[in-house]
């Protein structure tokens, strides 16, 4: 379906809904609809066209045109088309009709818009707080433009996480609190499990403990070329995909065509990131099952990728390679040779490891028919990446919305249809080999040339929506350019965002023993904090380490490691 056809179809099915539309470039359609007809349009797109919700954005445009704007961004995966459906909201009456009852995957998006902009989704089935912390004031909405970025809320002593009441069938059950600090998951997340004996009969989730306000910071303090560096720090494992997607969104908005060599280098780094991330996951998943031999072997195999990226970029992680318009570092012939040798070794060792693992019957006992996510549920919650592909939802941003070097590359995506953890494992295993094959193709086809495009002044009020396939699934970035050499609005939807919403479906009727591996099977990536707070137990003083001190400490530690 082309964008013209879709526009006509929306007009036909939802008469009177369309207010305006724009097609700034092929593959992107921006539609503004009547606020009251939003549910009808969403219903048509989701159920009839079978589009998938990528993300939603709330923008405070009141300084420009006096309105708030809420957009729901859909993807028509078969047609390489991304549609943003917008509605305008009067700041005096900040209410929108909720679409969560139609698209369950919109649940968190609408709650996030409510928390950060104060736009109430009317008729939302679960209107609890999501993003802001429990002690945050009721009437402070951080993403409104008049809200200062350095606002500090008054201190509150008593806080309670907004957990839901026990449902029917959970009232007799024992409550097992998992988190907020649970050793197995490493990152802060709070699951409340209702258990009867070993069986889980209900679950609830509270997260966003380390929400850092990166989006607000971008809109107020940073400039276009500083953002890639903070974007990379959104995630400690798949950071490069965030900075690359941000750059792609800005480049799309500003109509910058980056040099082919830069495209290839970005793709190469993305695939290297996928290889090490999938091996990391394989190790962690085995660890959740108490199978530490696989953990250690998988991480041993993964380590050369980290050395390789250190050689290419100077860092094991957080490469700092991307700028709007291109990349900062080149790959010379010697490095290209090294890359080929490394992936050769990794491929051989991974084959041995995965070959042994898939033959293991006891692993199958633990993984088959566990944490099942049906095709329908996967579509309803709009999950992405290996989680979706293991449930038979054949989506992959590299194929559906080809970006960077992917249109030139030849590869198949791995799809399985049982929806259990075993299939998620198989999908990731197959993808590791696909990535290695892609790395070979990229190195072979790498075109010569410049690394950076000429970037002039970026014109304001242009929109860009970029999606890229992170190891954990598609991640989506929306950028609205602004006048002060910085984005007016930047929205990030990381791949774990939809996956986490599917966890309650996977946990249902499973055992406590399955909990770590089920949560682990979506490859969760909560977020990482960038500064450290230390509490002196004797004096009860809170001390914040400055960047300088942390740097000195880490250098000291690194020096010790090298000597040992």
């Amino acid at each position: 379906m082309t964008s013209e056809n879709l526009l006509a179809a929306i007009g036909e099915h939802c008469p009177g809904a369309l207010l305006s539309s724009a097609t700034p470039r092929p593959g992107r359609l921006f539609v503004t609809v009547n606020r009251s007809s939003m549910p009808a349009v969403a219903e048509y797109l989701f159920n009839t066209v079978r589009a998938r919700l990528i993300l939603s954005v709330g923008t405070d445009k009141s300084p420009i045109d006096g309105n708030y704007e809420v957009s729901y961004v859909f993807s028509l995966d078969q047609d390489q088309l991304i549609v943003a459906v917008k509605e305008l909201v009067d700041p005096a009456d900040p209410r929108v009709p909720s679409v969560t009852n139609i698209i369950p995957g919109a649940n968190w998006h609408e709650r996030e818009v409510r928390d950060l902009l104060g736009i109430v989704p009317e008729g939302h089935p679960d209107p609890r707080r999501l993003v802001v912390s429990d002690d945050w004031p009721e009437d402070a909405f951080p993403l409104r433009k008049e809200f200062p970025y350095n606002f500090k809320p008054p201190r509150v002593t008593e806080v309670k996480p907004p957990m839901r009441e026990a449902k029917e069938g959970e009232k007799q059950a024992t409550v097992l609190s998992v988190g907020p600090f649970y050793p197995t998951l490493e990152e802060p997340a709070y699951f409340r499990l209702y258990v009867e004996g070993e069986q889980i009969v209900g679950s609830d989730y509270r997260g966003f403990f380390s929400h850092r306000g990166i989006e607000k910071l971008t809109e107020t303090v940073l400039d276009y070329n500083q953002v890639p560096f903070i974007a990379e720090r959104i995630c400690g494992i798949c950071g490069f995909v965030h900075s690359a997607t941000y750059c792609m969104a800005v480049e799309q908005a500003a109509e910058i065509e980056i040099p082919p060599r830069a495209k290839y280098i970005r793709s190469l780094m993305l695939e290297l990131e996928r290889v090490h991330s999938h091996l990391l996951w394989l190790g962690l998943a085995a660890h959740y099952l108490g199978f530490d031999t696989v953990l250690m072997q998988a991480w041993r195999i993964r380590e050369p990728v980290m050395w390789l990226t250190e050689q290419i970029t100077g860092n094991r992680k957080t490469y700092g390679m991307n700028l709007v318009g291109g990349v900062r570092r080149d790959i010379d012939d010697a490095t290209a040779e090294k890359i080929l040798q490394t992936v050769e070794k990794i491929e051989k060792e991974t084959k041995e490891l995965i070959g042994a693992a898939v033959e293991d019957n006891s692993l199958k006992m633990r993984l088959q028919k566990v944490g099942v996510l049906s095709y329908e549920d996967a579509r309803k919650i709009c999950v992405v990446g290996p989680t979706a592909r293991a449930s038979g939802v054949a989506i992959d941003a590299r194929k559906d919305h080809p970006y960077l070097a992917y249109p030139d590359l030849d590869f198949q995506i791995a799809v399985h249809d049982q929806g259990d953890i075993w299939d998620r494992t198989l999908v990731r295993a197959e993808e590791t080999f696909t990535s290695i094959a892609l790395i070979r193709q990229i190195v072979a086809k790498m075109p010569p040339g410049e690394l950076m495009a000429e970037v002039g002044t970026i014109p304001p009020w242009r929109e860009g929506i970029a999606v890229a396939e992170a190891p954990r699934g598609e991640c989506g970035h929306y950028v609205l350019t602004g006048p002060d050499n910085r984005p007016y609005r930047w929205r990030v939807r990381a791949s774990t965002y939809p996956q986490l919403q599917s966890v309650p479906y996977m946990l249902d009727k499973m055992q406590i023993a399955d909990f770590p591996i089920i949560v682990g099977s979506i490859d969760p990536c909560f977020s990482c904090t960038e500064r450290v707070l230390a509490v002196d137990t004797k004096t009860r003083n809170v001390r914040t380490y400055t960047k300088k001190e942390l740097l000195a400490m880490s250098q000291r530690k690194a020096g010790q490691g090298r000597r040992a």
């Binding site: 024992t174 409550v175 097992l176 609190s177 050793p183 197995t184 258990v195 004996g197 070993e198 085995a286 660890h287 959740y288 099952l289 108490g290 199978f291 530490d292 031999t293 953990l295 250690m296 072997q297 041993r300 293991d360 006891s362 692993l363 006992m365 633990r366 055992q511 406590i512 023993a513 399955d514 909990f515 770590p516």
Partner: protein, 300 residues
């Protein structure tokens, strides 16, 4: 008099060698993982560290506080019944039966301590431990009874002497295999360490223990490993028999080490099973042990 000395020797040997055995197993584990691994004395350092660490007082009631001591005590008492190189220090008629009960005491102390801590993780761990106990202890009991039947005596020393004197019987070989299979859950190793399951319930019954009490709990678990391994090699693999005590002790320790390494290797090539899967598995092991018992009754 000699038996008292041997008894004291047994207890001290178990206490002193248990952390070393764990240290060696950590090295074995590290080699399988392609790691360098900690020094073999690391477990001593860990215990020493825990001994001087602050006790966080996860719970404060008599049972919680007494359980670690009782747990270690139960294991050391079991050590008095186990032959370490030929001599059974505390032999009396019926000690084979008493041993079965004493061996079950340590996990029961662990469960009591866990229940007294009040943590939901402990409750899950305790319920798993009790379920495992009910399928694993029968294996030990059945195999020990089978040896007694063969020897026409409930005295362990007689059992062993009878065993050494005659060529191995098919029934006892089957029992030895069943006993070996029961070791994995008894010493809390993957795939049957469900009660501790670090990644699921954070060491279950131990979750609230810290400092000295945790050290005692850990020490009793290491000691239990050595006692059970010694029971297997003493009861089912008594060769080569020697009357020279130091040599007998040496042989026992070497055999214990071999069994321990086998158990550790098994632990490193399996994922942890779930409780229903583990129980189904042990239903089969009980059937194997019963086969051994029936063959023993038939005189095979």
């Amino acid at each position: 008099m000699t038996s008292i000395l041997v008894g004291i020797f047994n207890v001290l040997l178990v206490l002193a060698a248990a952390p070393l055995l764990d240290g060696i197993l950590r090295q074995v584990r590290a080699r399988i993982h392609s790691r360098q691994g900690p020094p073999v004395l690391q477990t001593y350092y860990d215990l020493a560290k825990l001994m001087v660490k602050e006790d966080q007082r996860g719970a404060n009631n008599f049972i919680f506080n007494a359980a670690p001591v009782a747990c270690l005590g139960a294991v050391l008492m079991a050590a008095l019944f186990v032959p370490m190189g030929g001599v059974v220090p505390l032999g009396f008629a019926g000690d084979a039966l008493a041993l079965v009960y004493i061996l079950a005491l340590a996990p029961i102390c662990l469960c009591l301590g866990g229940m007294a801590s009040g943590s939901p993780y402990s409750y899950v761990g305790v319920s798993r431990e009790v379920m495992m106990l009910m399928v694993v202890e029968p294996v030990l009991a059945i195999t020990l009874i089978a040896t007694s039947i063969k020897a026409h005596s409930l005295l362990l020393a007689n059992c062993i002497n009878r065993y050494v004197a005659s060529p191995p019987d098919i029934s006892l070989i089957i029992c030895a295999i069943a006993f070996f299979l029961a070791l994995q859950p008894e010493v809390a190793k993957v795939p049957f360490d469900l009660a501790e399951a670090e990644q699921e319930i954070m060491e279950g019954p131990l979750v609230e223990y810290s400092g000295r009490k945790l050290a005692l709990m850990k020490w009793s678990m290491y000691s239990k490993q050595i006692v059970l391994f010694a029971l297997l090699v003493g009861g089912f693999l008594p060769w080569p028999k020697t009357s020279f005590l130091p040599l007998g002790v040496l042989f026992t320790l070497i055999k214990v080490l071999i069994v321990a390494v086998l158990v550790e290797v098994i632990a490193q090539v399996f994922p942890r099973l779930k409780i229903n899967q583990a129980i189904r598995y042990f239903a089969i092991v009980i059937a194997v042990a019963l086969t051994g018992l029936i063959l023993a009754v038939m005189g095979l």
